[in-house]
Symmetry: D3
Subunit: 338 residues, 6 copies
Amino acid sequence: MNKRIAAFGEVMMRLQVPNSELLTQANTLQYSFSGTGVNIAAALGKMGHKGYLISTLPENALGEAAYSYIRKLGIETDFVYRRGSYIGMYFLESGFGSRSSRVTYTNRQESSFNTAPRSFYSFKDIANSIDFVHFCGITLSMNDEARVQMKELATNVKAAGGKVVFDCNYRPSLWGNNGYQIAKPHYEEMLELADIVMMNEKDAMLILGMHTNQWDRQAQLEELIPKVAKRYDISIIAGTHRSIHDNHLHTLKGFLYKDSQFTYSKALQFAVLDRIGAGDAFTSGIIHGFIQKKSYQWTVDFAVTTAKLAHTIVGDTPLSTEREIMQAMNHKVADVVR
Amino acid sequence: MNKRIAAFGEVMMRLQVPNSELLTQANTLQYSFSGTGVNIAAALGKMGHKGYLISTLPENALGEAAYSYIRKLGIETDFVYRRGSYIGMYFLESGFGSRSSRVTYTNRQESSFNTAPRSFYSFKDIANSIDFVHFCGITLSMNDEARVQMKELATNVKAAGGKVVFDCNYRPSLWGNNGYQIAKPHYEEMLELADIVMMNEKDAMLILGMHTNQWDRQAQLEELIPKVAKRYDISIIAGTHRSIHDNHLHTLKGFLYKDSQFTYSKALQFAVLDRIGAGDAFTSGIIHGFIQKKSYQWTVDFAVTTAKLAHTIVGDTPLSTEREIMQAMNHKVADVVR
Amino acid sequence: MNKRIAAFGEVMMRLQVPNSELLTQANTLQYSFSGTGVNIAAALGKMGHKGYLISTLPENALGEAAYSYIRKLGIETDFVYRRGSYIGMYFLESGFGSRSSRVTYTNRQESSFNTAPRSFYSFKDIANSIDFVHFCGITLSMNDEARVQMKELATNVKAAGGKVVFDCNYRPSLWGNNGYQIAKPHYEEMLELADIVMMNEKDAMLILGMHTNQWDRQAQLEELIPKVAKRYDISIIAGTHRSIHDNHLHTLKGFLYKDSQFTYSKALQFAVLDRIGAGDAFTSGIIHGFIQKKSYQWTVDFAVTTAKLAHTIVGDTPLSTEREIMQAMNHKVADVVR
Amino acid sequence: MNKRIAAFGEVMMRLQVPNSELLTQANTLQYSFSGTGVNIAAALGKMGHKGYLISTLPENALGEAAYSYIRKLGIETDFVYRRGSYIGMYFLESGFGSRSSRVTYTNRQESSFNTAPRSFYSFKDIANSIDFVHFCGITLSMNDEARVQMKELATNVKAAGGKVVFDCNYRPSLWGNNGYQIAKPHYEEMLELADIVMMNEKDAMLILGMHTNQWDRQAQLEELIPKVAKRYDISIIAGTHRSIHDNHLHTLKGFLYKDSQFTYSKALQFAVLDRIGAGDAFTSGIIHGFIQKKSYQWTVDFAVTTAKLAHTIVGDTPLSTEREIMQAMNHKVADVVR
Amino acid sequence: MNKRIAAFGEVMMRLQVPNSELLTQANTLQYSFSGTGVNIAAALGKMGHKGYLISTLPENALGEAAYSYIRKLGIETDFVYRRGSYIGMYFLESGFGSRSSRVTYTNRQESSFNTAPRSFYSFKDIANSIDFVHFCGITLSMNDEARVQMKELATNVKAAGGKVVFDCNYRPSLWGNNGYQIAKPHYEEMLELADIVMMNEKDAMLILGMHTNQWDRQAQLEELIPKVAKRYDISIIAGTHRSIHDNHLHTLKGFLYKDSQFTYSKALQFAVLDRIGAGDAFTSGIIHGFIQKKSYQWTVDFAVTTAKLAHTIVGDTPLSTEREIMQAMNHKVADVVR
Amino acid sequence: MNKRIAAFGEVMMRLQVPNSELLTQANTLQYSFSGTGVNIAAALGKMGHKGYLISTLPENALGEAAYSYIRKLGIETDFVYRRGSYIGMYFLESGFGSRSSRVTYTNRQESSFNTAPRSFYSFKDIANSIDFVHFCGITLSMNDEARVQMKELATNVKAAGGKVVFDCNYRPSLWGNNGYQIAKPHYEEMLELADIVMMNEKDAMLILGMHTNQWDRQAQLEELIPKVAKRYDISIIAGTHRSIHDNHLHTLKGFLYKDSQFTYSKALQFAVLDRIGAGDAFTSGIIHGFIQKKSYQWTVDFAVTTAKLAHTIVGDTPLSTEREIMQAMNHKVADVVR
């Protein structure tokens, strides 16, 4: 059963310093185009759905390159528009072992996406063409216009009978001073509109200001998430706990809260080639499991495996097919596949 | 006789698509840092002077990379400051033969340089440390604050006994609608402050609104430039005429107007590897000839040869030494130099 | 007025030795995916039409890569199917000046496209979805099954009211011994089905066995092409004459024969970056002029300019937009476009 | 004591996607030439023997590149012939951690090697020029002609007093449906001709259809291998057991069965850079120990260390010298060698 | 409190084979310029001090490239001179896991640095301009002239009130046969001049010929180092113990001996990207802690963390800022830094 | 008729800055191994002869890489020995148009080749194994030992009935002050031993101190070369006149003097990709024509065409086959060769 999922979000140009060098050392960059929306639409496309992006790209060579790139990813581009002159960018200096990766952003406020007025989109028509819509907290942080557009589109989709997915994805640096206070009402509006929410106990505490006396992460989670689900009437809440070790190893454990019940994946430990975008892989896996009406256990296992594989692929965007993910769920790592 | 020359201007990150590909085709970029000020300071440094840059770079990894890069170019960095978060960038798709090169800018208005307030610089102290200051019309187009800073610094340098060089370098796309009208008064103020001006007859007509009934470029030049020199009391006006042919060949002819007299270089024809920044090479050559009290003919020949060599070097910034330029002035192209 | 044009043909993997090295010298290859059909569909897409490809790709990683690549080119992939295991490939050692480029093919007979049975395609449905169909003599040389498919699809398109374009594109090495005799009846069938044909006097003499006592190329052309048009009832015949000089310069002159009248473009001389695929650019320009109901002179000038620009772009596939081609028609080569 | 060892087998072109990218992501490939025969001849050459390859390469640029490459590897090319047009190729997408490497083959049936008739080789002359000949199960899977050639050459070598090495190397995908049944008689013929055989218990069960009630791999091995050695009168049987872990670690343990006695190496665990071809390194080590009349323990330790080092070298072909392997046998990993 | 630290030493050109290939496999090299002096001056510059290099570079394109490179590293070049024609070089084949890295040197004896006569430098003036001077045992091994220069400069610095740092850094291959005997008197002279010495128990035994009956490294260290400090009147002796594991993991533990007391860092285990130059990072950390009058524990922890981070950065030269090192001292490895 | 030709000379490592950058700009180098001897042996190998190199390479990773590389070029390595530690190197910064290429050498005096004693070679045995030996003036400039070896080997070859080829190849920078005076007696000895000599009128004037009152190059040539041939009893003298134009075009005209008669090739003009080593291509063509007993006109045309093609191939070493050169002699530049 395949669905039409649209993600609303900015396309970013990723400019990565190759070979683990620093920006002061190298003289070449590898570029690609991504963003949470791009990642979600591409990942669900690989799983057999129609993955749409709702976005705006500049009317110049950069916009052309971004457009070509997302077509290459298999994304449906019916709702990708061209307007304005700028695209958001980030520079990535890949870490190594005990040296963390470092991201440097350019100014995104003037980007085509962040300056497109709500009148530029026909949200009603879009809502009628899709089954799911995905939003992300990063977009919510951009500016008032973006926030209005998110809520308007979410409202339209719900009205048209579709489902709303919201990934909290809180980035403190994007909200400035008193960020949590500024962010909270917007997050609450989105949570009220959402059917599926990606978050964990930290979001509950930091964004929503909830409290717990527990010290253990899982205990905190199990105390707070049910309250969130109840307060905002959310059908599914899912998320991950991550630990980072030396030597490129991460441990990742997924959870899924639905019907007053927590389901956990195994804690997977794996070597990491490219960490960025792996959260979107987990989200895509949860959506896919939900669409396919799979068991909670299958869904969270599938989602965390999707995330694991996303860590082994260059670039932000998950590229594994459903078949590859299922093989990785069931088997240990194989010798060369011929 | 070596002098201290400072150039006031923005550092740009240049992101070039390699191998003559388009942005839609490639996946790597070559990056370097340049800008008119960088080019002038580096070129004059190679000629034996102290080349200073007066600029502001962001306090992040991009600013660090830019700072390292201009140190590598041999530029004196005493007046290079760190503040803010962004750096201007441009993407370069190199042309080939009958396909022109194409430049796509990112938003520069939010760059560290373009948002630094005048109070951030000690123009008086800087003025006392240098013999020449160089400005460019591109900076003049940025915003009111930049314009005020240019004039304030120029005034300080003149007061301290230094010389002011101004390169008109009018870029229509930077001034918007009615650009010429907006630009004219600012250009006039700079021309009044300047001792050495880089321009040609087109600037006189377009920016200053002057008229001529001549059709031939050289006749226009010889009618208009003396009027400009007189009206704004400019000691030296110099510039070039360029023709572009198929097959990577350009023809370049320089002129120098001083003491009511035009001196022309030969029209050089040569193959072009990297056209960008070659105008700054010409300017540097004129300044160098002036400092060295060379004849007008030597000066304009040296300047146009500096520009010719700059076309054969990768990147915006001229890197030829005085000795290399003089060899190229006097000899035809040599076999391998061992 | 935009149309739906479909090209029927094989997707080839192009594996190019970089930096003008030979296969014995290098250790890396640059790869892309092309083919006459790909080139036509992409070029017409860039001109504002819907460019479809009708082809079959293998069900493996190479097929996946080819599929992504042609999506990136903006080609409509509704009629691109997956089946079999192999893809045709060619290795390109780029020449330099007086050293010619050299192409080495792998075995194409086992490719997915060349082994797909006619029952695999719904030619009737395809014919009802398009306005134009394009075929090429290379496909005609492959095997009997391919020849049958070409004729069946052409017949369906004509029955559905569409136009048939046929590019003779005779490659002696693909037809083997007695190639012309084997090829002639198949070419004649295609010429009878075609509305627009790409050929010149050499094709008339070599493939169709026509004779002339003229020695001059243009005189031969003007004697033979009208006979071909008449004999096979072809509405438009167009083609080019090419001369190759040392130092990467080619001269190209286009002609268009319609309504018993020859129209010629100027003979353009230009530097060549990538010669392969430029013939398809010319074809695309002729089709575009025809669709837009432009004058014969505009059409042949547009087509030859499209071809000229295709020589300045890396890869087989023309990527210029209609606007870029029109600028190049009207102006000489520009300085940097900012 | 140095010997002349010839390996009979196809030269493959390896086309690797760099930087752990997928074929859909990258646009460059790294190429080299390998194959089991190439690997064996090169590895034994590095150990001080004369390593010959018996093969056929196409008469074009690819054949020229392959020929140059195997000369560079130090292989003796007296028995490398040129004929035909095609070479076998495979594309390698390198895995990372929990994502396995993936190999995609092109059609090898039409390659120069696989279409060369037996009359093309002078097997008798070759047999008189060498001390050992090496065959591999991959060649056995190709076609009847290849199988006949293997047996004819093996028979000639035995007649001339040389030794026959046979590596079972069963690849199910190469034998098609009912592969084991088709393969078994051919394997049995080769086993009867062979003096040294590379295999393990899986080959005994799958190819030869032998049965065991043991569950443990080593117990299965120790039950079945002696039966194989006896039934086919094989002097030496050797092989490895491999386990693959996350994070690029493999464990490898070698065994050697001779004179009714099993000798095992330590189980080595090590990080893997390039897994392909490492089995051929093990074989080479066994042959070298045999030639040098070393103890069984030394031989299997040397062989497994040769394999370990082959995993740390880019490309299929083992490149370690005897001295380097012996250092790695005796010492732990060293700091920088200066 | 920032100081002026000068390092006396040769600039080497490092030519690294990329992608873990061997020199026989690759065809490109990555180059940079380093050397113990470069590393110390750059590392202390990043920590906020003025890092000077005292060296001589050739008067040609290689000298120009080296000069630009060390300027890029932020090194003060007031005492970098140009003379002669050659520069020392080394080729680096990076190891992988159980395969060690391998370094091949070119002839350094004819380099500009190693042939510059003592009269070429004004050691007295230099001594008056700096607070610390750093020497390394590698320079001591070069030739008599270099040894005289080291001692003369050290004597001048002490006379001017500065501190002398000496890193024993004994390389057997540089001293030839009977190397220890030849080296010992020179090492003793340097130890007598030094305030801070980098060494461990191996240096005490091998270079100074000291004996111990202890078997354990730490016990040997604690017996011998106090004797060395006493005999040569050294204020601080510091150094490291390193263990190398498979899979790119190293363990490193630092010690600091001062005031008759040993202080040890934790034994850090970490993945290694580039091992070369990491010893200089440790030295820089010790010097920085001493200048900042930090506790012994802070100093040795800071130094070993500086070394750890240097292992995660491409190239010989440590590039971490004081802030980055302190973050790594206090925290575990972070997720992406945005 | 194929012959055995050996060239005596040093193997150099060529380290080229890619993409026309300067050493101060780039961070990668492309490396290969060449030298006059390598070029001659490889070029004649491609023409169907046995091309031997007589040389000595270091016993380390660089020597191994050089050895593998010359095997790849198809050179016979029976007389290539291993001894010592160093190899000569040169850095190449490729020019562009009016900017000349620049070569920077490292110290070659300590190279394995230049320090191998005469006793290291069995010149008598070598002489008995070959038909021709080739020497070059660069080797003659190295040191007395090299000069003695050249003369001893030449004498042995003549005694064994072989022919001696000597290429004057005078490089002023290698002979130092008063270079011509030092060089003259050695050149005279070599000329007396030589059967075929490569030189032109400049060599006659500068090295041999001959005089002429002619001003025109060809007139000088025709006056001086017959005198040289007579005085030193040389059978064939051949050489070229080269003119270098802007825009990568060179003009080259060859001459052959034999039997008191000059034969000239046409003056070829062509675009240049890599100028280095093209003189060796000319020499190889002359030797080939002589061996094949071709007419003087064929020989000089073949030689100059070999040189022309060598300018279109990356690297020092000519790689064209006899068939390719003959095609280029007879035809104009072809379209893509498929």
